[in-house]
């Protein structure tokens, strides 16, 4: 069954159609949320909450964007709202710990950790999410702006400033290494 038919049925409250839509998009959503939250368990929790929100808001889905795009937009906004409610964005220590744990998980699977991810983990969610959406998923500034309910100009400047911060962070990390190799 095509996605359009499933959405039409889901709008009528069909449980099977909803379940099929969620099952088809679950892995994609969790993988996206791992990049956003830098925490696998949190990513799975947010994914389930986002799907619950999706059931509530399905009547608002106009079918212009793909269902997966709509889903990640709901998940991103839900995550940002939760952080604001819990004021977790101020807890840098907790975020750093999550990134370190993710690094450990990646390295135990014999994959090489990339320092840009550590630098990205230090950015606020408002900046990290547009960077991920733009530079990995290929969304345009307009689309990201629509997803995050801010203007495309704001998204563009957030991404630019975020990229500059990541580059600065990487250079700062490189400096001590150079010094240590000289001595």
């Amino acid at each position: 069954m095509e996605e359009k038919d499933l959405i039409t049925k889901a709008k009528r409250g069909d449980q099977h159609a909803f379940a099929k839509l969620f099952q088809d998009n679950y892995a994609f959503l969790v993988k996206y949320l791992i990049k956003v939250t830098m925490d696998r368990n949190l990513a799975e929790d947010i994914a389930q909450e986002a799907m619950a929100k999706c059931i509530e808001k399905i009547h608002l889905y106009d079918g212009k964007a793909k269902f997966s795009s709509w889903l990640i937009s709901i998940a991103s906004n839900y995550y940002i709202d939760q952080l604001r409610k819990n004021k977790r964005e101020k807890n840098w220590q907790q975020q750093e710990q999550a990134v370190r744990h993710l690094k450990w998980q990646v390295e135990t699977r014999n994959e090489e950790w990339n320092d840009t991810l550590t630098a990205l983990g230090k950015l606020s969610e408002d900046v990290r999410i547009p960077i991920i959406l733009k530079h990995y998923y290929g969304y345009s500034y307009d689309e990201i702006g629509e997803m995050m309910k801010v203007s495309p100009g704001t998204i563009k400047s957030r991404i630019h400033n975020g990229i500059l911060t990541v580059r600065k962070e990487l250079r700062l990390n490189e400096e001590p290494k150079k010094v240590s190799t000289r001595s």
Binding site: F18, I34, L170
Partner: protein
């Protein structure tokens, strides 16, 4: 430069960040490769949808009940004052009208000052 053809740069100025974009992309790919996501079966999702639909129905009934009670209360008070205490009714009408005019004009002047 894996996806660069797929997702072209928006501006030439971004070219100075090309290496960084590639590194970011590699990092994200590593994350994708590192985590195998086990998708739950259909039954799990169907149960989740069913539970949420029940919760939403309960919330709707609760909201409608509260709305109806409040509406009934307001109408009762208005009718009571109209027939039993007409002076109070007209004073209340006057206060509400003045409040609405004051509130609207304040909002409009705020909007005008923002645009200026």
């Amino acid at each position: 430069m894996k996806n660069r053809k797929k997702y072209p740069l928006d501006h030439e100025a971004e070219e100075e960040f090309l290496d960084l974009f590639d590194e970011l992309e590699e990092g994200f790919e590593t994350l994708d490769k590192s985590f195998q996501i086990e998708t739950p079966n259909m039954q799990f999702f169907e149960q989740m949808v069913a539970n949420k639909q029940v919760e939403l129905r309960k919330k709707l009934i609760k909201d409608i009940s509260i709305f109806s009670i409040v509406a009934l209360l307001v109408v009762s008070i208005v009718l009571y004052t109209l027939y039993q205490l007409p002076t109070v009714f007209y004073v209340l009408q006057g206060i509400v009208t003045i409040f609405i005019i004051g509130y609207t004009s304040r909002k409009v002047s705020q909007r005008v000052s923002v645009h200026e």
